[in-house]
Symmetry: C2
Subunit: 393 residues, 2 copies
């Protein structure tokens, strides 16, 4: 179990399935009734006969349903492959893991690049504004489809952590535990500001065409800049110093050329921007960052602890010391609010110089926390799953 992820058994081939849900329309937070909604999802492991070992893994901004294993013919594992698999933190020998692509994304679920049945053309600017709660409501429909009465756990990092927290608040009867990682109960103005810069970079690109660019190249340069902004915020000062320092790229002295690409870190960022453009839809970045900014668990309540007053889950909140995009104080506030509401919250701060990206990388430090908390959830919340009326199959 302590060997490196590379040598640990993988799930092998993962398969993405797809289902059409909400044919009568889902009532979105914006007031719009929207449907049908296609949901792309993957599952790993086996559901127990009494259906009590399901874990919903929620992805972050640029993720998708492909959380673990390998897609046929592809070399890149899922985004949380270090955490999901036989013997791993989310042990597929014991648990049934569900991972679905969120509403508004571009990896198989309905999003702005999907065909609007009303027009026969991509939604583009006609896609409705969606929220984290809308995403969770779609996931609830997926659970209904899969006939899962309640989740043993909802979990995820960053935007995925917001979904996990929203699960506990929206569906207290259907989620027994939550591990929310590197996230917050609401975006600070600084977090909104970084998203705003990314959106402005996309919208400044003339190829964006107000969001209706699907018959052209799309805002490739703007999306690249947006991704670069994001990437700087995902790393830490100390991590970048370790990874790049002031090392030059392919030369020994400063080049002093206009547009010179002298520093390694410049090349890294440009590569991140360019490679993202081939795998992501700019409108999805606009809509999902908007969802992040609107997210506020305390919205409509007098306090955050009031928002948690009806929850039944037990919580683990995991923050990383060098994550300055989602600084630890935010999850500490969440833990305090949960406890103030009478709930059960464990707060963990992992020492790491990986910054926000740590939730994807620090599996050795996360593994024991996740495993022990899953044990606790399985034992201490057992009655919960069997509550009659909890959910009718």
């Amino acid at each position: 179990m302590t060997s490196s992820s590379e040598s640990r058994p993988s799930l092998g081939i993962a398969e993405t399935r797809s289902v059409e849900l909400c044919r009568d329309g889902l009532a979105l937070d914006s007031g719009i009734k929207f449907g049908p909604i296609t949901v792309a999802y993957q599952t790993y492991g086996t559901l127990t006969p009494n259906r009590d070992n399901a874990i919903l893994v929620c992805h972050a901004l640029s993720g998708g349903a492909h959380a673990a294993g390998y897609l046929a013919g592809q070399k890149k594992p899922g985004w949380w492959d270090v955490m999901i698999g036989p013997g791993k933190a989310f042990d597929t020998n014991r648990y049934f893991i569900i991972s679905s692509n969120v509403l508004g994304s571009c990896y198989g679920s309905t999003g702005p690049a999907s065909i609007d049945p009303a027009s026969g053309r991509p939604y583009g600017s006609h896609f409705p504004v969606v929220t984290v709660r809308d995403m969770v409501n779609v996931q609830r429909h997926l659970l209904d489809h899969l006939q899962i009465p309640s989740l043993l756990m909802a979990t995820g990092g960053s935007m995925g952590g917001m979904q996990a927290l929203q699960w506990a608040v929206s569906y207290p009867e259907r989620v027994r535990s939550v591990i929310a990682i590197a996230t917050t109960h609401r975006h600070s103005p600084q977090q909104i500001a970084f998203n705003e810069v990314a959106r402005q970079a996309i919208m400044a690109d003339p190829e964006w065409k107000d969001g209706d660019y699907y018959d052209g190249d799309g805002p490739r340069l703007g999306l690249g800049v947006a991704r670069m902004v994001g990437h700087v915020t995902y790393l830490s000062d100390a991590g970048m110093e370790r990874k790049f320092g002031r090392r030059l790229k392919g030369r020994e002295r400063y080049g002093y050329q206009f547009k010179a690409l002298d520093f390694e870190v410049q090349g890294y960022l440009q590569h991140q921007g360019e490679s993202f453009v081939d795998r992501y839809d700019a409108n999805s970045l606009l809509f999902l960052t908007t969802a992040l900014d609107y997210f506020d668990l305390s919205n409509g309540c007098n306090s955050l602890s009031e928002a948690f007053s009806g929850v039944k889950s037990i919580f683990m909140l995991i923050a990383f010391s060098s994550d300055w995009l989602y600084p630890p104080y935010q999850l500490k506030e969440v833990a305090q609010a949960i406890r103030r509401s009478g709930g059960d919250a464990t707060y963990c701060e992992i020492n790491s110089d990986y910054g926000h990206d740590a939730f994807l990388l620090e599996h050795r430090q996360q593994d024991p926390l996740v495993k022990s908390f899953l044990e606790r959830a399985a034992h201490e919340t057992r009655g919960f799953a069997l509550t009659p009326g909890n959910w009718e199959l």
Copy 2:
């Protein structure tokens, strides 16, 4: 002296002068010989008969020679008006203050928007890469022109602080003291990365035209995005929370509209981007951020303390607790290196939630530090100014 800056006497009308220097060309760090160089500058106060009360104030990325007072017909005071004036930290009743626009900028000194005498058209992409040392060398020529043998002090914040440090290293005989504020001896990869994002935003704009855009509108949208990136890094998390929180702009509930401008912080950033475009040249941002990234006082030395081994100035280094763009640890390292080299360095960390912008705003906390250090410099380094051969008038 403790009254607010608004009620304190101002310099009144400031005047920008201009001089053509380096007619035979200045040897730049890049190896290019470049000239003539026009320098726009302002002076405040009166030079003593023995010319020993001159202070060079160095501006940051978007600043210019207009550091204090008001330009005729304009309502906005100079960028450091809170610090420079009668009775202020840099007391114009006692000191002779010089402020010049740096090489590469767009406020009167030679920069990429200036006319290249060789072609009769703006330099644009043909402007040479300049460094902080090049800027300081031009300032040295300005001092020669003004017949100032040595500076009582070189000072400035951010890029201005780099120039002040470079002065001590480049011209140890001509600068008696340095106050470097909210700055560093070299950019970390994170600092390079934020600059790179800003540059990429400009270069992604098709109106940039590889830098030769002066017969068109120029990269207005790209420059706006670049400025927004900058602005987020100039503020602090806590400061933004205090200033904006999650307050909505002109509405009570979320609008859930595509491209919605719901949060105040979004409007603020967009305004910062748009207003900058009317007052700044995009190529200057490219060239000056490049100069920032190349800046490394220890370049060519075995250590930073070796770089300071020949300096004669006394130093004060002022950092701000919430400045995460130029975090305090960087100036702490500078102070340690100066002391290790046998020099005299005072390190001060001011508690503030203004982030990097604090050097422009926290005058009440800076005033006593600057005043007392100027007294020390005037008394303890008096012999210095009179050293024969120091500089021949």
